[in-house]
């Protein structure tokens, strides 16, 4: 194909994905709420021209769902992934699905979709056998056509077979192709969003330009805990074209121009009342511990930790902390809503179309079928767009101006203020090794701020105890799911603690993990990491600046190795290289998986070294990227990624797992470089200098 036609075709295709209804598409609800529909027609539709449309209730956040899901359909139907048109995240057109989070797409949705495609293949072959008067065993299938192997002229296309109608035959569960016959899985394909995203054609919620759109800017309280009481809008209303909408404590300034709406909002004088939390980013850790203490409960317990401690020859006590961290997606939360003919349609930047639909329906007291969520391209999620406040407030405004599309695009200050943060946390651990340096005799841990999720790992421990609080509303600020929630906090504590134990016992960190590993997969992964990284065993600190950490997310395992250089005068940590060895089972899209790992490492270099929400009472002090510090190009090292050949046919998701051990590997590398243990994430230069003082004092 000449590039010109390709470019035009693909640009048009990008619009087709989201803004028109492919032929034959119809809403399909599952028979039971919270289940996947069993009819494969819910996922796959073949249009009269033979194009295969695939409908899934996930969203494309950049993680590559659109490409990997198309690969699965292409695998079963013998197509190129480019021949599958994806429509994601439209609650009217796509079957119900779980939110796009928790690394669930490959874990939950992929087998369902692949099964649907396998059934569709069998049904199409059956239809073709009848039409061509041949046995299905004598048929071949490729690129949307089916023919008789012996006489290829006896041929029929998908379009001719299905004629744009729903396929009525059903065969129940049909086994997908065995791995040995797969030609798409495991191969490299261009991302389906590559052309749209490199030409500016990709549309995000804020790029929709529905005729007559009014941009709404919402009056926010200056601090959390405060609510709007009175507002003087007189000055704002003098701006030509301004409209004010109020709904309870929600006050919005509307204007055809987004920047004019923003300027007019600045003219509104509000008074606010309420109580701010009495805490700040320095006192938060003691605040959490004090508030949580009465509610601490034993969540996991094995054996008698008191007896275990008596058997220990090396005991270490550690306290590990992490700050609040924002999702800070580059696309701030954005939605467009239109109330028309008794239905609310919301085009929303989101990770969970069906959760958004239900939230809007509940807030507006509408039936769920009166709300439609449409999902354009989403400019990053990381857990931050699992929740629907922007869709709800946009819909509330739109409800008051029937027929007028309303766009709400948070600015950066709003996005940093309204985000649900990765929780601040404190993890205290007291643990010990036996005299033979081969067994953890006890591990006694108190987790505050997050749950004990993924605190345990594939390590043998003679006794252990994990306490975590059951205190509702523990946090003074809104918290949310941040990529690998709980797991990365607990892994940072566990892997730092193990590193400290190894150092105190004079043991190489890899050797200690090998002795503790109770899963052969972990042993193989350690070997793979050691070999790829070139890890030479030695007890730390060696001065080389290398660090190891392991982590898990469900069945996925990750081993991370880092090398850093620490400037002892400034406290600045420079990451020189970073390796992850990853076992996520069968890797369907190798380049997509690699991108997720590289992205997680890069993102978590920011998590480990610089990202922190600063606050005083209910005031969020970070307003923009001048103080909220995301990792820039100069912070990122050479990255190596290796996947274990796990020999399984099941696939784990990969959004979360590579996040889990990053901060711990870097902290352990800092220790190896300097002898100073950094225990507070992010370990910015100030905290590194503080840790270095303790070494100097020793």
């Amino acid at each position: 194909m000449r590039r010109r036609t390709f470019l035009q075709g693909a640009a048009a295709g990008a619009l087709t994905f989201f803004f028109t209804t492919p032929a034959g598409a119809a809403p399909v609800e599952p028979t039971r709420p919270g289940t996947y529909p069993e009819d494969f027609n819910a996922y796959l539709k073949i249009s009269a021209d033979g194009r295969v449309g695939c409908f899934v209730g996930k969203t494309e956040l950049g993680q590559g769902a659109m490409t990997v899901l198309a690969m699965l359909v292409a695998e079963e139907l013998e197509l190129d992934p480019a021949q599958v048109d994806m429509l994601l995240g439209d609650t009217d057109l796509c079957p119900w699905d779980m939110p796009t989070g928790g690394s669930l797409t490959m874990w939950h949705t992929a087998p369902v979709l692949r099964g649907a495609a396998a059934e569709a293949r069998a049904v199409l072959l059956g239809m073709a056998a009848k039409a061509l008067g041949a046995a299905t065993a004598d048929l071949a299938l490729k690129d949307g056509a089916i023919w008789v192997k012996a006489t290829p002229k006896r041929r029929i296309t998908f379009g001719e077979l299905v004629k744009g109608r729903k396929m009525e035959r059903h065969l129940g569960k049909v086994k997908p192709k065995p791995l040995s016959e797969c030609t798409v899985i495991g191969r490299h394909f261009p991302r389906k969003d590559a052309l749209a995203k490199t030409t500016g054609a990709a549309k995000y919620a804020g790029d929709l330009r529905l005729p007559g759109t009014l941009h709404a800017c919402i009056l926010r309280p200056p601090a959390h805990g405060l609510k709007l009481v009175t507002a003087d809008t007189a000055a704002a209303e003098r701006v030509p074209g301004v409209r004010i909408v109020r709904d309870g404590t929600l006050l919005a300034v509307l204007h055809p121009q987004p920047d004019t709406a923003r300027k007019a909002l600045a003219l509104v004088k509000g008074t606010f009342e309420g109580t701010e939390p009495d805490v700040d980013d320095g006192r938060i850790y003691q605040y959490l511990v004090d508030k949580a203490a009465p509610g601490q409960r034993v969540m996991i317990s094995r054996g008698d930790v008191v007896a275990g401690e008596k058997r220990a020859a090396t005991v270490v006590e550690g306290e590990y902390r992490n700050a609040y961290e924002s999702h800070a997606t580059l696309e701030p939360h954005t939605a467009v809503a239109k109330w028309e003919e008794g239905r609310m349609t919301v085009w929303a930047s989101n990770q969970s179309p069906f959760v958004f639909r239900d939230a809007v329906a509940e807030a507006l007291k509408l039936d769920k079928d009166k709300v439609r969520i449409v999902t354009p391209f989403v400019g990053g999620g990381f857990g931050g767009k699992l929740v629907a406040p922007v869709a709800v407030e946009t819909a509330r405004i739109a409800r008051q101006v029937p027929g007028v599309p309303i766009q709400v695009a948070w600015n950066r200050e709003e996005d940093l203020f309204l985000d649900g943060y990765r929780p601040a946390a404190v993890v205290k651990i007291r643990s010990g090794l036996d005299a033979g340096r081969g067994a953890i005799t006890f591990w006694d841990s108190v987790v505050t701020g997050v749950s004990q999720g993924e605190a345990e790992f594939a390590y043998e421990m003679q006794t252990n105890r994990y306490q975590a609080p059951a205190v509702p509303d523990l946090h003074p600020l809104k918290i949310g799911a941040w990529r690998a929630p709980n797991a990365h906090t607990n892994a940072f504590a566990r892997e730092s603690q193990l590193d400290a134990l190894a150092a105190k016992a004079g043991l190489d960190p890899v050797t200690l993990r090998r002795r503790l590993a109770n899963d052969p997969r972990l042993l193989r992964l350690l070997d793979l990491a050691v070999e790829t990284f070139g890890w030479e065993p030695a007890p730390g600190p060696t001065g080389r600046g290398i660090g190891l950490a392991c982590g898990a997310w469900r069945q996925a395992l990750v081993v991370a190795m880092a090398q850093v250089a620490v400037d002892k005068a400034t406290g600045k940590v420079r990451v020189e290289r970073f390796l992850e060895a990853v076992d996520v089972g069968l890797v369907v899209n190798p380049d997509g998986a690699r991108q997720q790992v590289e992205g997680a490492i890069t993102m978590c270099i920011g998590q480990a070294l610089s990202e922190e929400i600063h606050f005083k009472g209910g005031h969020i002090l970070d307003k923009n990227f001048d103080t909220y510090l995301l990792p820039r190009f100069s912070a990122i090292p050479r990255i190596q990624v290796v996947f274990a050949d796990s020999g399984t046919t099941t696939t784990q998701g990969i959004g979360e797992p590579p996040v889990v051990p990053v901060a711990a590997a870097l902290a352990n590398a800092v220790f190896d470089a300097t002898g100073a243990r950094v225990t507070h994430v992010p370990f910015n230069p100030e905290r590194v200098l503080e840790a270095l003082k303790h070494v100097a004092a020793r």
Binding site: R3, R4, T5, L7, Q8, L61, G62, G64, P190, R191, D193, A194, L195, A196, K197, T198, T199, G200, A201, A202, K203, Y204, G206, D207, R209, Q257, P258, D259, A328, T329, L330, E331, P332, F377, V378, G379, G380, F382, A409, N411, R412, D591, Q595, E598, G599, A600, I601, T602, M603, N624, F625, D626, L630, P631, R632, F633, S634, I636, R638, I639
Partner: protein, 158 residues
């Protein structure tokens, strides 16, 4: 007070009626419908709004439309010529040098302006040139690879 501002946009003359101090990004997105240029921070801190003004990388969130009067503005939509992708766009595609894509327009425009001046730059020089552009998904290494390879591509940027 609205003024009449004329400039060349993606090779064609345009005239808009706008306050001279209105930021260029809003004029591009709202008046001219070119939404490939993104708004990420409105303070010149993230680079998502980068466009070319007379071939110089320029933050359109912090540039008044009056200041581009008589100049030539190029946005991501104008980079492909006669349907043929620019080598920088091609390199970003080939390297999958993006995830969510929200920073990508700005990245490509910043890279283009830099490579125009220095097609065979060192890795360190590329890092310095791209430092003002933020990618949240962590495509950094691929973006650097893409910029490096675009510079080496036959003919370089156009």
């Amino acid at each position: 007070m609205d003024a009449t501002v004329s400039f060349v946009l993606n090779g064609k003359p345009v005239t808009v009626s706008s306050p001279r101090d209105r930021m260029l990004v809003w004029v591009l997105r709202d008046e001219l419908g070119l939404t490939g240029t993104k708004v990420g921070c409105e303070a010149g801190l993230c680079g998502a709004c980068t466009v070319l003004v007379d071939s110089e990388a320029t933050l359109s969130c912090s540039t008044a439309v009056g200041d581009v009067a008589g100049k030539s503005v190029l946005t991501i939509e104008g980079l492909a010529l006669d349907g043929k992708l620019d080598p920088v766009q091609k390199a970003f595609q080939d390297h999958h040098a993006f995830q969510c894509g929200f920073c990508t327009s700005g990245m490509i425009m910043a890279a283009w302006a830099f490579l125009k001046k220095k097609p065979r730059a060192t890795r360190t020089e590329i890092v310095e040139a791209m430092e003002g552009n933020i990618c949240r998904c962590g495509a950094h290494v691929r973006i650097l690879d893409a910029v490096e390879s675009a510079g080496k591509a036959k003919g370089g940027v156009r």
